[in-house]
């Protein structure tokens, strides 16, 4: 997006993907969003920042993505009494981000919907954790708030509340179904239950240590988060990791994708009444996790990606074992895919279930593999191939029907594509040339500049915005999960479906609660 035509001035922003930053007044912010939307752009993230210690009031940061890259639009509010324009009319996903920004920072948008989103009465409503002068009191007891759910009324309409503690081994959240018979008229989500103060925790932490916390924003995407964090910090420190280190990161990221898709394909079979699928896919996933433990010392690859590079090298024996593992997995996955495809009962559950049309996906900003299953095409690895994807070349997956079957198909395709990438990485990975090739030393990061990390995790794009302060400490870090964009879409995907199909539809997206609640 060329913002100079809008009268805005953009400057390059430190990032591994093309990114710019532009300050904007209220009109500039709205115009930038509208023009981005008209040109097919998406809202990636919105968060706030307390800048009063620098006499700048508060900052509202909005990240937009279009075909050219990321644009960080920065809008300043002189005091907490001032408001900023409601962007939800342009990008519906902004609604919850705006409400969360108020809960945490006390700056409000002009939106009509001012219900709390992250706040649940566990701290006083007039205290804002992300203000720099915030002080928590041990006297604050966990509370409960009366959240104004929207009710549907009429003959035979009733309500099913579910959660926060769910029936399975799942993260906590609350779902309020309005149903008639067994048909869902409306689903309203209430999240924030696993809000554990991650953003505040980042403040003041040494930036060189922040990857451990970043890698635990959403455990199933630990590689994606640690990598996005490392990208941002490396951009501020002026470090470019060695080719071998980036290839090893990609190996870890693709293995993370393989493990998660395998796990979910098993549960999707199970939720469709086909326990055989769970037994088979969970077996394959276990093979992958055990190999990761042998090769890298951790089943989920936590703390493998570190600022400057990676924590350890891949031994040649493990590389050979991974190659064999690829052969085994590819064979098994093809067999199981044929079984899934030919199973009438399963296909009956998958097809025409939980449909998100291409139009709806575009309007609501559905992202990640779910977006690609609804006719979308964005994949950071293809659109802005950060190293080593510029060399690797990723074949984009996609489907058009937007139902559970499409999300299953895309997961199968991405699974096989990731296994292909794993092979390429193992066979063509550059050798280490210097002693510190795996982990480059990290100079002090630039202060008072925001950098962005952007990585296509298995669920979708993971963004990390990082600003450092003096002494190598973190001034502000905002990790942003693709689930922010996709949770609202789930509410639409279930409309008109039957209640028993909800677990299946939900699992087909498998969104992160912790990555969203922070």
């Amino acid at each position: 997006m060329d913002v100079s035509r809008l009268g805005l001035a953009a400057a390059p922003l430190p990032s591994a993907v093309p990114a710019k930053r532009c300050p904007a007044d209220a009109i500039g912010l709205v115009t930038a969003c509208r023009v981005s939307w008209e040109q097919g752009g998406q809202l990636i993230a919105l968060w706030g920042c307390d800048e009063r210690d620098r006499d700048r009031g508060y900052a509202v940061n909005v990240v937009l993505q279009d075909d050219e890259g990321l644009m960080l639009v920065e809008h300043m509010l002189p005091t907490s009494d001032s408001t900023y324009p409601d962007l939800a009319g342009i990008f519906p996903a902004a609604n919850r981000m705006q409400r969360a920004t108020f809960d945490l920072l006390g700056i409000a948008s002009e939106a009509e919907d001012q219900r709390p989103w992250v706040w649940q009465a566990s701290w006083p409503i007039d205290q804002y954790p992300l203000r720099r002068d915030f002080e928590a009191s041990p006297k604050w007891e966990p509370g409960q708030e009366e959240y104004p759910y929207i009710r549907v009324e009429g003959d035979g309409v009733h309500e099913i509340p579910v959660g926060p503690v769910h029936a399975g081994i799942i993260e906590p959240g609350h779902f309020r179904f309005q149903i008639v018979g067994e048909k869902v008229l409306r689903l309203e989500e209430r999240l924030g239950f696993v809000h554990k103060g991650i953003e505040k925790r980042f403040e003041g932490m040494q930036a060189a240590e922040g990857h451990r916390l970043a890698g635990r924003v959403s455990g199933d995407s630990t590689v994606a988060y640690a990598w996005a964090y490392a990208q941002a910090l490396e951009a501020l420190a002026g470090v470019i990791p060695s080719p071998r280190a980036t290839w090893l990161r990609a190996l870890a990221l693709e293995r993370e994708r393989v493990a998660n898709h395998l796990g979910d394909l098993g549960y999707l079979g199970n939720d469709g009444g086909f326990a055989f699928g769970l037994a088979q896919f969970s077996r394959l996933k276990e093979i992958v996790l055990r190999r990761s433990r042998t090769a890298f010392g951790h089943r989920l690859l936590m703390d493998f990606v570190v600022p400057g590079g990676v924590a350890r090298d891949l031994a040649s024996g493990d590389a050979a074992a991974m190659r064999e593992e690829c052969t085994l997995l590819e064979r098994e996955i093809r067999t199981l895919r044929a079984i899934y495809d030919e199973h009438d009962g399963l296909q009956d559950r998958f097809r025409n279930c939980g449909i998100v049309t291409k139009e709806l996906a575009a309007k609501l900003g559905l992202t990640g593999f779910a977006g690609r299953a609804s006719g979308g095409a964005r994949d950071v690895r293809c659109d802005f191939p950060y190293a080593p994807y510029d060399v690797l070349g990723v074949n984009r997956s996609g489907a058009a029907s937007g139902d559970v079957a499409a999300r299953v198909a895309v997961r199968f395709d991405e699974l096989l594509e990731s296994l292909r990438l794993v092979r390429v990485i193992i066979d063509a990975m550059p050798d280490a040339t210097a002693a510190d090739d795996l982990r480059a030393p990290l100079p002090a990061p630039a202060i008072h500049r925001t950098a962005l990390g952007y990585v296509e995790g298995w669920r979708g794009p993971v963004l990390v915005a990082l600003e450092c302060g003096p002494g190598g400490s973190i001034r502000r870090c905002h990790p942003h999960d693709p689930s922010w964009s996709n949770w609202p879409v789930l509410e639409h995907a279930v409309i008109g479906n039957i209640v028993p199909d909800f677990p299946l539809i939900n699992k087909s997206f498998n969104l992160s609660y912790t990555g969203h609640d922070l």
């Binding site: 604050w140 993260e171 239950f193 696993v194 554990k196 635990r216 959403s218």
Partner: protein
């Protein structure tokens, strides 16, 4: 159908012997005997995510795969605390989950066991205690056994679960 059966036969049985509990090297038969004696026919577990990063949940899921085959040991995950003998709780306990966790604990019939899972469940982990986090599970409900690790492996989880039921399995 033939293809499904062929795949099942080809896969064979992958289940491995269960590990010894964390504190002793008792054989699996003895353990199963203990489980049966204490709990009748089976141990039922209600898992509660009280604020985790979902890493622990991934490994708890893995307990159900054919390699660990937790159901083969007579241990089953159930949908309601009212059906549970043991709560398997991951942390840190977010303030927003504290009330739900206490209610889940209260709804679990006696004698109830609690296993706190993961570094966060044991000591708050990387999240610690803050305006939003109450830290370790023991800060909110009584805990019988703690299983550290980030996340603990399925084997460590199984050892922790078996360690929790062992004292109760002694002759009374």
């Amino acid at each position: 159908m033939l293809q499904i059966l062929r795949q099942i036969v080809k896969t064979g049985i992958k289940t491995e012997p269960a590990p010894a509990p964390a504190d002793a090297a008792a054989g699996i038969e003895r353990l199963q005997r203990d489980v049966l004696r204490t709990l009748g026919r089976a141990l039922t577990i209600r898992q509660v995510d009280a604020g985790s990063c979902n890493g622990c949940e991934l490994e708890i899921h893995a307990l159900g795969n054919p390699y660990y085959n937790i159901e083969g040991l007579g241990i089953k995950f159930v949908a309601s605390p009212r059906h549970a003998d043991l709560l398997l709780v991951t942390g840190p306990v977010s303030k927003h989950m504290a009330i739900a966790l206490r209610r889940t604990y209260d709804a679990t019939p006696e004698p109830k066991l609690v296993v706190a899972v993961g570094d966060c469940g044991c000591n708050g982990g990387v999240f610690g205690e803050s305006y939003a986090s109450l830290g370790r599970v023991a800060n909110v409900i009584p805990v019988d056994v703690e299983v550290p690790g980030c996340p603990p492996t399925p084997t460590e989880l199984l050892q922790g679960i078996l360690a929790a039921i062992k004292p109760r399995a002694l002759p009374r």
